[in-house]
Amino acid sequence: MKRRYRNILCTGIIALGAMLAPRYARAQDTSGGSMHSDSMSSKLSSKMPSKSYGVEIRDFAFGPMTLTVPVGATVTWTNKDEEPHTVYSNDDVFRSKALDTDEAFSFTFEKAGTYKYFCSVHPKMVATIIVGADKKPVATDQKMDGMPISKLN
């Protein structure tokens, strides 16, 4: 009975999501064969458009952990682990499906702000995208020399 209620609720949320979707229109799941497919991103890597940024998921961490980009930038997360990870915004602004090894997910940030996100499979993995108008991109990698923070303590 409870399950049924929840399903109805879920359906409602999905319907609501569909209505709101155009606002967040440019969240793209690259494994679905959209223009940000894996082969495209590797081709692009030599000549990246100016507003494309990458976050690598490796050793159960997002790198860089804090990335600052201009408004309109597209960020692509690529999973380099042998473990599936996801990219979930804390405030539900963007949400990837589970990314297997070498799969990627892209999202275009149209609004300035601080976007905290995490991996819903391994919630200890947290990171931030700062979207700021007219700011030069700054990457602050909190992992030093490839050592996880826990090792530095």
Partner: protein, 323 residues
């Protein structure tokens, strides 16, 4: 190997001798049994006649725990996870007493894919047992909040897939701590499940042995790697009055054991690939060992409960050990 080693030092008056306990832990990875009997911890090497004798005791309930099969994983740490699962099944089928049932403590699949669930279900049909009970791992609830998992492996369960059952005089509780995880957090049971748990055990006598099984450890093993459950203390508070509580978990792909008062915590090996000991690698995840060593770090867990004797024996055995 020492044999039938009864531990008598009991400095903390809790029935557990630390020295003997450590000895037990050291053997766990290579095939040993630790038996808590009348408050005295006994340890035996696997294959010891005392263990074989245990299987013949009257009123016994024998079951097996397997974990972390990760069907669909195909990387260097183990390109043949179906093969090693089959070896684990052969090990179970070779037990002197067929298990009454089998518990799979999650991560049945690598990516929650229907074909991965199919292969797991097909493979486990080979086990000579009456029934298999499941709890989901985080790998089994990707992208659909566990709907496909529940449809297949936890029909009739409540909420996200929790349930309980009684057998052999003991009360078994399957919990789900891999869903609705919060940013920065650990495994999570959630208030709805905790409320259910409180009600579920309310009617039970304090002498009823309780066995709790869930994927992520319900004790804090290594929070830095997410190896713990944020609200496990609340769950355990509902079980405080019981004389015998056994908590069986997976997730960390290695055996670990802790005894705290009346609660015994135990984690099982994976049937697929090992992970590093806490903090011994830059991150958790599949660990590659030399091919010839793989079978020594995978295995199954055999649990024996002797009714009326308050005895619960937990035996870990690796795929390469003789049994």
């Amino acid at each position: 190997m020492p044999k039938g080693n009864i531990i008598t030092d009991n400095l903390n008056e809790d029935g557990i001798d630390r020295r003997g306990f450590l000895k037990c832990m050291a053997w766990a990875g290579t095939g040993a049994a630790c038996v808590l009997q009348g408050g005295v911890l006994q340890s035996f090497a696997l294959g010891d006649s005392a263990i074989r004798g245990m299987h013949k005791r009257k009123g016994e309930l024998a079951f097996v725990q397997i974990s972390d099969s990760h069907i669909g994983f195909n990387k260097a740490a183990n390109p043949d996870v179906v093969g090693t699962l089959r070896q684990a099944i052969a090990k179970i089928n070779a037990l002197p007493t067929p298990p009454a049932f089998v518990l799979h403590t999650g991560d049945l699949s690598q990516l929650s894919k229907p074909e991965q669930f199919d292969t797991l279900a097909q493979s486990l049909k080979e086990i000579r047992t009456d029934r298999i009970f499941y709890v989901p791992g985080e790998h089994d609830v990707l992208d659909d909040n566990g709907a496909a998992y529940r449809e297949r492996f936890a029909k009739g369960s409540l909420g996200d897939g929790w349930y309980s059952f009684d057998t052999g005089g003991a009360h078994f509780i399957g919990l789900v701590n891999v869903m609705n995880l919060k940013a920065g957090g650990l495994g999570n049971l959630g208030p709805e499940q905790l409320d259910w748990l409180e009600k579920d055990v309310k009617h039970l006598k304090s002498s009823t042995p309780i066995v709790v099984f869930a994927h992520i450890p319900l004790w804090s093993i290594y929070p830095e790697w997410g190896w713990g459950t944020s609200d496990s203390e609340q769950a355990l508070s509902h079980l405080k009055r019981f004389g015998s509580v056994t908590v069986l978990n997976g997730h960390i792909h290695q055996t670990m054991r802790k005894v705290e008062g009346n609660v015994t915590f135990h984690t099982a090996m994976s049937t697929a690939f090992p992970q590093a000991a806490p903090g011994m690698a830059p991150a958790p995840g599949p660990m590659k060992v030399p091919a010839e060593k793989l079978r020594s770090v995978l295995g199954v867990t055999d649990v024996n409960f002797i009714r009326g004797h308050h005895t619960l024996g937990i035996t870990d055995s690796t795929l390469d050990s003789a049994m």
